[in-house]
């Protein structure tokens, strides 16, 4: 993709209202430059999926998303045949071959290979798939070429920019990690988070945004089961706006979703004076 340096990339992402830090911009830039997949890990709600979306929009590329789930296999991810039409076709006695492009259903990975325009391929939550699928992905990501037994080999017309995200519910295979560039997305600093809130909710009073970001930063400093993500910060700000600047403790349920966490925060007066 046509960016001169990481800084240009960062600005392009900011144009899509995604504020990336230097490290992330560099990783994305390198992924595009070297043609290597980028593996993004981080806590829930730090905006891993958003990176791919903003990236596609910034580069004017088409976003193709493959959401992984348990039991996902080649027929969910790559291709399948339209069986109902095949059967009808057979009974109609038509002569055209049954396993032809006509009956091929293109799943996300195949779409990404065959696309003529630039593509950002998002392989989301890869940790939810199983080892067999991971092995298949490894093959796919190494030469961007797959074989469909009935049709032959399909290669990429142009290499898609691949973003793989993982929530770390399990450790990914080392071989897959080796193939990718890696970036860990951390929680943003309060100042940066306030910028993100401003970018996402234009017209928010500085004072409200900063207050929420300070509160969230304090919560993240506590030993909680589930820490609030950036998504929660934005939702919390929205809640405060909707309630016309209400009490933080009253609306704690927007940021924390575990009963023990809420009790702990109230008991220890974590939010006092914010």
């Amino acid at each position: 993709m046509q960016f001169e340096n990481p800084e240009a990339f960062r600005e392009a992402l900011a144009g899509q209202r995604y504020l990336a830090d230097r490290g992330l911009a560099t990783s994305v830039y390198l992924a595009a430059e070297l043609g290597q997949p980028l593996l993004l890990e981080g806590e829930a709600g730090v905006g891993k999926t958003e990176v791919a979306k903003a990236l596609a929009a910034a580069a004017g590329a088409r976003l193709i998303r493959l959401q992984c789930h348990e039991g996902i296999d080649v027929h969910h991810a790559l291709y399948d045949w339209d069986y109902a039409r095949q059967l009808l076709h057979l009974r109609a006695g038509d002569e055209t071959p049954l396993y032809s492009e006509r009956f091929l259903l293109r799943r996300p990975l195949l779409q990404a290979l065959e696309a003529d325009e630039p593509v950002v391929l998002l392989i989301d939550e890869v940790d939810r798939s199983d080892d067999e699928f991971e092995a298949f992905l490894l093959e796919f990501l190494s030469d961007f070429q797959v074989s469909i037994p009935e049709l032959g080999t399909v290669g990429a017309k142009r290499r898609p920019l691949v973003v793989v995200t993982s929530n770390r519910t399990r450790e990914l295979h080392d071989a897959l990690k080796r193939r990718c560039l890696y970036h860990w997305i951390d929680y943003p600093t309060p100042a940066r988070e306030a910028e993100i809130v401003h970018a996402r909710l234009p017209g928010v009073a500085d004072q409200v945004a900063e207050r929420v970001c300070r509160a969230v930063a304090r919560l993240r400093g506590e030993e909680l089961y589930k820490l609030p993500g950036v998504g929660e910060t934005i939702a919390w700000t929205q809640a405060l706006l909707a309630l016309d600047d209400a009490d933080l403790e009253e609306t704690l349920g927007v940021a924390l979703k575990v009963r023990e966490d809420i009790e702990r925060v109230r008991e220890r007066g974590v939010l006092e004076g914010v």
């Binding site: 039991g71 045949w81 059967l87 076709h89 057979l90 009974r91 006695g93 450790e171």
Partner: protein, 373 residues
């Protein structure tokens, strides 16, 4: 066997020795089949082998029923010397086994604390086979099946193969194919106490954990004394000795004090995701806790809500007079699904049975759990 006419040379003997080491030699059936595979080379040898195995190891060989005792008449008719003394034979079977079929069998009930270095190496194979046994659950990945399942929704039509097959019948889907759900290994999480009081047991329990990490797919291993250390990565790899060495280096507070509650709190907070819903969590500790029992109870409750099943292995439980009186143990027990010993190979076998779901609620930790949950 040589007396019976079979050709058994030194090579066969060596093969037999190797075969015994390759299988779970403490299991009589495994030993039987391993030896048979190594020692017999012709069909005729089988009968000879059965007799020899019977004579050597003095229990009923699985392939051969016990010969009917001679009727009274026959015993009178036949010469004295040829008739076994029935009473003494019965005694022998009940009390002593003249030859154990392996060293491992003798170790089965031996307390881990009394193991020598040699014995630790000896049980490696058996721990490996124990480690392969573990919890499973239905997978969402399907596999081809021949028949439609018995229960509704047990299988779905396999359109891919059905269409293929219909080509043979001019497009009529006469031959139908199905797919059914497979089985997957359920995630397993070990949390082992390596504080001072657990020292005699920790090494072998860690060896078992190492075997599990090597044998199964989704296993996480943690050790704790005063704080929790993840050792899953350290325990991976082919060489068990080096894996154990790496793990002990990683755990800094080896043989120190114990704070179970704090360790579990770290587990819940920092590694909660790794546990995943539906994991079986196995805690290995003697329950001597210097932390706050309330915290322990709270964290146990949390852990239990996230996990599919919570098993506590306490080596002290093997003692017949043991009662869970320590504060920590008392606080934790109400939240435990299964409370087992974990001091010997036999108890690890019991654990394997529990993990496989065979021992439904026979050894339930505490009847009080029914009350609060």
């Amino acid at each position: 066997m040589r007396a019976g006419g079979a050709r058994v040379g030194v090579d066969e003997l060596l093969a037999a020795h190797r075969a015994l080491r390759a299988v779970d030699a403490a299991d009589r059936d495994s030993a039987y089949f391993a030896l048979r595979a190594a020692l017999c080379s012709r069909r005729e040898d089988l009968a000879v082998f059965d007799a020899a195995f019977e004579a050597g190891f003095a229990q009923q060989a699985p392939a051969q029923p016990v010969p009917e005792p001679l009727a009274d008449v026959a015993s009178l008719v036949l010469p004295r010397a040829g008739v076994p003394q029935r009473e003494t034979v019965v005694d022998v079977e009940a009390d002593v086994v003249p030859a154990a079929w392996s060293d491992v069998e003798l170790l089965r009930d031996k307390d881990f604390a009394d193991y020598t270095e040699e014995e630790r190496r000896l049980v490696r194979g058996i721990m490996g086979s124990l480690a392969r046994r573990g919890p499973e659950r239905p997978s969402r990945r399907t596999r081809a099946s021949h028949r439609r399942g018995a229960q509704p929704h047990a299988s779905r039509p396999d359109l891919r193969r059905t269409v293929r097959a219909s080509l043979r019948h001019g497009g009529e889907p006469f031959e139908r194919h199905w797919r059914e759900r497979g089985e997957r290994q359920r995630p397993l999480v070990f949390v082992c106490d390596v504080s001072g009081s657990m020292e005699p047991y920790a090494r072998l329990l860690l060896q078992y954990m190492q075997a599990c990490v090597a044998a199964r797919r989704r296993v996480e291993a943690f050790v704790f004394g005063t704080r929790l250390t993840r050792v899953t990565r350290e325990l991976r790899g082919r060489d068990p000795d080096r894996a154990l060495e790496r793990a002990s280096t990683a755990a800094a507070d080896w043989s120190g004090g114990t704070r179970i509650g704090e360790a579990l709190a770290t587990l819940n907070r920092e590694h909660g995701r790794r546990l995943g819903r539906g994991a079986v969590v196995v805690l290995l500790s003697d329950g001597w806790d210097r932390g706050d029992p309330d915290e322990l109870a709270e964290e146990m409750a949390r852990l239990r809500r996230c996990a599919r099943r919570l098993v506590w292995l306490n080596p002290l439980k093997a003692h017949p007079d043991y009662e869970p009186l320590t504060r920590g143990m008392r606080a934790a027990l109400p939240h435990v699904d299964d409370f087992l010993a974990g001091n010997s190979l036999a108890s690890l076998e019991q654990l394997a049975r529990v993990l496989e779901g065979g021992l439904a609620s026979a050894d339930r930790g505490n009847p009080a759990r029914e009350g609060d949950g």
